[in-house]
């Protein structure tokens, strides 16, 4: 059987939503510019040999609606030959696209695929513009299928006895790690600088143009402290423990990787960066979707004949501090190898993009540290968990 190799991967800096630097940047443009940048990094690359563009997106509507994958393939590659598809597994969409691409390559259906995700939470609200829960499901007492994610985080905190103090400390550490990483320029190789031009009316109602470069993650806060986090009020439940400070941020961003087969590698004459080993998703009650990785991680380890000890670096998506702590405690994961450069609480969580973004961060960091196996894992809305394993070559 073929193997799927990752040769390139780039992400945009992650902007805050809804008032960050990407607030007026359309998600399809963001994605297209990322892909364009990635293609330009490979000398003499023939764009028409790409088989497919797979785009993960958690809220595919409005600006990112209408098969946005195909629109991105047209806009990013500037040729008609390459098709595009949109994939949705909420927060795992980005990772799912990599898995689909790998599966296609392994089975011989394709040789070169661009996979990744894009999300603009500035444009599209959480849950979309028109949530319409099914009456027949809901009237039978299954309202939790449609619960907001914050409520599930509260439920996890309650069920797994995660204290507010621990959550705040976890959130604080995430910010510190992220700030340190940015200071040390650890994300520099991954980030595509995006130039934004804005036309606006100034105070005198005159048209003005301003342009700026976005190449640093906007999320981490220098001014935060445990005391400040302690003071925040719970936002999802009365007397709850989940606050805006210990939840992931709403963000805008895009991330794409190029995944190719062995034959294609030879043709291109280029060294691969990593191999995609395996990927698993698992289901669990929607009420406690936060602990999804607890089911997904053992599943993927078993399939790839590895043990948890073999994994040297983990990117666990910090949807909520409560959920992350529950997963770490349940699986007894070594805290030192998890989110070494900060997580979504500090860096942001652009839903559909996150899977691809974390994969890029993981591969880059493992290369720097000379490690072999790494894992990207996250909880997924409506009671799912996902985990994927990468091997650095």
């Amino acid at each position: 059987m073929n193997d799927a190799y990752i040769i390139k991967g780039y992400r945009t800096a992650v902007g805050k939503a809804p008032r960050g630097f990407f607030r007026f940047k359309r998600p399809d443009e963001l994605a297209a510019e990322t892909i364009e940048f990635m293609i330009n990094q490979i000398d003499g690359f023939d764009k028409s040999t790409i088989d497919d563009v797979i785009v993960g997106n958690a809220m595919p509507e409005a600006e990112q609606g209408l098969n946005v994958g195909r629109l991105i393939s047209l806009m990013g590659l500037k040729i008609d030959d390459v098709p595009g598809v949109t994939v949705n597994r909420y927060c795992a969409s980005g990772l799912e696209t990599i898995a689909i691409a790998a599966a296609k390559i392994k089975s011989g259906m394709a040789d070169c695929i661009i996979a990744g995700g894009v999300e603009s939470m500035s444009f599209i609200p959480m849950g979309g513009y028109k949530p319409v829960p099914g009456y027949n499901i809901v009237s039978k007492g299954n309202e939790d299928y449609y619960w907001g994610m914050g409520l599930t985080a509260e439920q996890v905190a309650k069920d797994y006895n995660i204290k507010r103090e621990d959550q705040d400390i976890f959130a604080f550490n995430s910010h510190q790690k992220a700030l340190k990483a940015i200071e040390e320029d650890r994300f520099k190789n991954q980030i595509v600088p995006i130039k934004i031009d804005e036309i606006y009316l100034d105070n005198n109602n005159k048209k003005q143009t301003r342009s700026f470069n976005c190449n640093t993650d906007e999320g981490p806060r220098k001014d935060t402290s445990i005391e400040a986090l302690n003071k925040l009020r719970p936002v999802f439940a009365n007397n709850g423990s989940v606050t805006a400070g210990n939840s992931s941020q709403m963000s805008d961003g895009a991330a794409f990787l190029m995944i190719v087969s062995e034959n294609y590698l030879k043709k291109l004459n280029i060294d691969p960066v990593a191999r995609f080993v395996n990927y698993s998703v698992a289901g669990l009650p929607p009420k406690i979707m936060g602990v999804g990785p607890v089911k997904a991680i053992p599943k993927v380890l078993e399939k790839s004949n590895l043990k948890l000890n073999d994994i040297e670096l983990i990117e666990l998506n910090e949807a909520f501090a409560s959920q992350s702590l529950a997963v770490l405690n349940e699986l007894n994961i070594n805290n030192d190898i998890v989110n070494v450069n900060g997580g979504a609480i500090a860096l942001g969580h652009p839903l559909g993009c996150t899977g691809a973004k974390l994969s890029i961060q993981l591969i880059d960091e493992m290369q720097k540290r000379n490690l072999k196996y790494g894992m990207v894992t996250m909880c997924v809305g409506t009671g799912q968990g996902a985990a994927g394993i990468f091997e650095i070559l």
Binding site: Y129, K130, P131, V132, P133, G134, Y135, N136, I137, V138, S139, E143, D144, Y146, W147, G148, L151, E154, Q155, F236, A237, N238, N239, G240
Partner: protein, 440 residues
């Protein structure tokens, strides 16, 4: 039609003065009065009613005149004797005979009053008519905080019947501290506790029918709310053709506080108003949600102006007035204007767009999320579900157009089912006892 004004002077042996200048005293035993009325083919007599001095004699005279087959109307005679009957000048010297400073006319005080009474009636001072209704509200029944009970509803019906016959419109207002704190929950509580559901059903039907009667009458109905305008009183305002609200008005559908839903057409009206706002290709559920939350959270406006934001008042129709003294007068003027503009009875609506299961699912999830977040209680969720059921027109599998009566039926059903709940009764009892809502 030939009318005659009649003034009773209680200070002078109940002398009777007519607007055509004749006097009768009590010794005549009203026989001459009766003869006079018959001779001149009078169709109706308007009696000035000041509410205290002539209280004893009005029923007697009324009875006598009615026996002759002549209609009798009572009308507020306030300040009829201090206005000149020929020029309307206000300050005229007091005394038996009065002389107007402007037109220099000399006239007997009581005749002047009788003419003014007649004029007031002919001019269409229906205000007197609604005062008649409201006086009953204030004095006769003395209900707490002007709460609306069956007698007031019957009074309203009677007032509208009367106005349709004789007047140009109806103004509903009062001069108490507050307009009204809503329907009389003590009655509902008693009926619910004794499990007299048929009577309760009848009472609710009467309430709804009265509200519908106000909307679908051939005369304009104008409400003049001020101060507390809660629950049933808010529903009353929702059904008026115009609302002239005082700036200091606290309006809201607060029935959830006592474990009920607005049962007098309030929920129906919110559905109807939401339906009117729907535009093509809109996400209707989001809009409907606003109206749902008005009821579900018992939102009360902090001023008359906020009433517009909460959709209790209609932006293009209703008005806010800052001068409370002028409020009723302005309301009367509004009713007159409506009449002069050619007011006709509206046609009953059958084109209310309800969203069915599409909206119901979302409201169920919303209520459950609030419960899971600890913001509301189990019973609140239960009530929210009932409101959702009415406001989305039941569990219809598609968007449909329904009539008002259909929604009113759903509303009654939900109201009655909640009256059978123990927690609702506890809430009503607590409210009656402590004047504060209970969270259970």
């Amino acid at each position: 039609m030939k009318y005659l004004g009649l003034d009773i002077n209680s200070r002078e042996h109940n002398h009777i003065s007519l607007s055509d200048g004749l006097f009768f005293n009590q010794e005549n035993n009203y026989e001459e009065l009766c003869e006079h009325l018959v001779q001149h083919n009078i169709d109706a007599v308007i009696i000035g009613n000041n509410g205290y001095g002539s209280k004893r004699h009005i029923p007697v005279i009324k009875k006598l005149i009615k026996r002759l087959g002549i209609q009798v109307y009572l009308i507020d005679e306030k300040s009829t004797s201090v206005i000149c009957s020929s020029c309307g000048f206000r300050k005229i010297k007091k005394g038996k005979f009065i002389k107007c400073h402007r037109c220099k006319e000399v006239i007997h005080r009581d005749t002047n009053a009788a003419i003014n009474i007649l004029k007031r009636f002919e001019k269409g001072f229906w205000g007197s008519n609604d005062d008649h209704v409201l006086r009953r509200k204030r004095r006769k029944f003395k209900s707490k905080m002007n709460s609306i009970n069956q007698n007031i509803l019957q009074g309203l019906n009677k007032g509208i019947d009367l106005a349709e016959e004789k007047y140009y419109g109806v103004v509903i207002g009062n001069e108490g501290q507050h307009f009204s704190a809503g329907a009389d929950i003590s009655m509902i509580f008693l009926m619910a506790v004794e499990q007299e559901y048929d009577e309760l059903h009848y009472a609710m039907k009467l309430f709804q029918d009265t509200m519908m009667r106000m909307r679908y009458s051939s005369i304009p109905v104008v409400a003049a709310p001020h101060g507390y305008t809660f629950g049933g009183a808010c529903e009353l305002c929702l059904h008026c053709d115009r609302v002239i609200a005082y700036a200091e008005t606290y309006v809201g559908l607060v029935e959830v506080g006592v474990g009920l839903i607005p049962g007098g057409g309030g929920t129906k009206e919110m559905t109807l108003r939401a339906s009117d706002q729907f535009r093509k290709n809109d996400v209707e559920v989001n809009l409907l949600q606003e109206y749902f939350l008005n009821i579900g959270m018992g939102k009360v406006s902090t001023s008359g102006y906020e009433g517009f934001d909460l959709n209790y008042f209609k932006k293009d129709k209703d008005q806010i007035i800052l001068n409370k003294k002028n409020q009723i007068n302005f309301a009367k003027q509004t009713a007159l204007n409506l009449h002069e503009a050619g007011y006709t009875k509206p046609i009953e609506r059958t084109d209310i767009k309800v969203l069915g299961q599409q909206a119901l699912g979302m409201f169920y999830v919303g209520a459950d999320s609030m419960l899971a977040g600890g913001y509301i209680s189990d019973h609140d969720k239960n009530i929210a579900k009932k409101i959702a059921n009415v406001i989305s027109g039941g569990n219809l599998s598609q968007q449909s157009f329904v009539s008002e009566q259909y929604l009113l039926e759903l509303e009654r059903e939900a109201f009655l089912s909640l009256c059978g709940e123990r927690k609702t009764l506890e809430r009503i009892q607590y409210m009656l006892k402590n004047g504060k809502p209970l969270r259970n």
